[in-house]
């Protein structure tokens, strides 16, 4: 699978838009800045919803109201994150595909999405009984705490992609090369 991914990344890296993004003087920086700035909208709104569930913010406003009203701005934020993220990946596909941090980030993103999806179902089914409570039930608090932790992990691993500590071809332990999916040069 790693060689198939690498093959795709290599193909992508040869497209003119990938080369253009990579070589442009300012475009990459602007996309990267947009990606980071949009954290304020995506993670920012998410954090407010999670803090509400934990009873640490907006305790005097019904939990579902905060969750439902902030849903749209948060999803706008995550859409911008996704689009700029794809562009950032397209600019440096080969290295990113074989990045240990990028791989952990994708796993954390999938875990965060599953957690959010499960929590959404729980919220819709049961909100009537605890909506006005300052602190949400245990299950909602666990989901909120998990969500905050997973997204902090996403931010951290995302930032680490830029560092070359574990790049393929370096002097890495075999385990790291395996996890990063390094394909031996032919």
């Amino acid at each position: 699978m790693n060689s198939a991914l690498l093959q795709f990344a290599t193909w992508l890296s040869e497209r003119s838009f990938s080369v253009g993004l990579h070589e442009s003087f300012y475009m990459y920086n602007w996309i990267e800045t947009t990606h980071v700035m949009t954290l304020m909208l995506s993670f920012g709104m998410l954090a407010i919803v999670d803090l509400r569930m934990l009873g640490l913010a907006f305790a005097n406003v019904p939990a579902s109201k905060i969750a439902e009203r902030l849903d749209k701005p948060m999803l706008i934020g995550f859409s911008i994150m996704f689009i700029t993220g794809i562009l950032l990946f397209s600019a440096i596909p080969v290295r990113t595909t074989q990045s240990l941090w990028f791989r952990i980030k994708v796993i954390l993103l999938i875990a965060a999405a599953i957690n959010a999806w499960l929590f959404r179902g729980y919220l819709l089914a049961s909100k009537g009984s605890w909506d006005a409570d300052a602190v949400a039930p245990r299950r909602a608090r666990i989901a909120a705490g998990l969500s905050l932790a997973l997204w902090c992990g996403v931010i951290m691993t995302g930032r680490f992609i830029a560092y070359d500590w574990f790049d393929c071809g370096g002097n890495n332990p075999a385990f790291i090369d395996w996890a990063a999916g390094c394909v031996a040069a032919e």
């Binding site: 920086n29 990267e32 800045t33 980071v36 700035m37 954290l39 304020m40 909208l41 995506s42 993670f43 920012g44 709104m45 998410l46 954090a47 407010i48 803090l51 913010a57 907006f58 005097n60 406003v61 109201k65 905060i66 009203r69 902030l70 749209k72 701005p73 902090c152 931010i155 951290m156 930032r159 680490f160 560092y163 500590w165």
Partner: protein, 158 residues
């Protein structure tokens, strides 16, 4: 005079600690980004509410009061991670125009929030002119965006 302070800071034990291992800087930097998300999120929640874009059925007094508490938490996280980051690359920052842009915008932002915006918003918002609330929200968003974006740009122009 100012340069010698930056040189002292970089040579201090904090500066040495931040430079010793590349991972130290990266971890502090990542926590700085988490603080940015929290501060930016609470700024957006307040200002977009004042502009009647989000949370329209929650009283704006409640939104600004609740969000400001976490704004302060975010600001503390940013300051407590920002100072060590500066210590690690102090002389580089001294010669970086984006660093100074950020510092000026940051000082104005802090003064704006604590001496103007929050004292005013503690009053019942119904007694304030809608136009001044909206102007204040726009000014606040622009200021904090400038702080954050020029901060990101320090790293590009090193």
């Amino acid at each position: 005079m100012l340069l010698s302070f930056f040189e002292w800071l970089e040579a201090s034990s904090l500066g040495v600690f931040m430079k010793d291992l590349p991972a130290t800087f990266a971890i502090v930097e990542a926590v700085h980004l988490m603080g940015l998300a929290l501060l930016g999120g609470t700024v957006l929640a307040q200002d977009l509410r004042l502009l009647n874009v989000i949370l329209r059925d929650v009283p704006s007094n409640v939104v600004t009061e609740q969000a400001h508490r976490w704004f302060k938490v975010g600001l503390w996280i940013l300051l407590l991670t920002g100072v060590p980051m500066l210590a690690g690359v102090a002389t580089k920052c001294y010669h970086n125009p984006f660093y100074w842009t950020k510092m000026v915008a940051l000082v104005i932002g802090i003064l704006f929030v604590f001496t103007l915006k929050q004292p005013l918003l503690r009053a019942d918002h119904a007694t304030l002119k809608p136009a001044s609330l909206k102007l204040m929200a726009l000014a606040s968003m622009s200021l904090w965006f400038l702080v954050a974006a020029s901060g990101r740009w320090i790293g590009f122009s090193g």
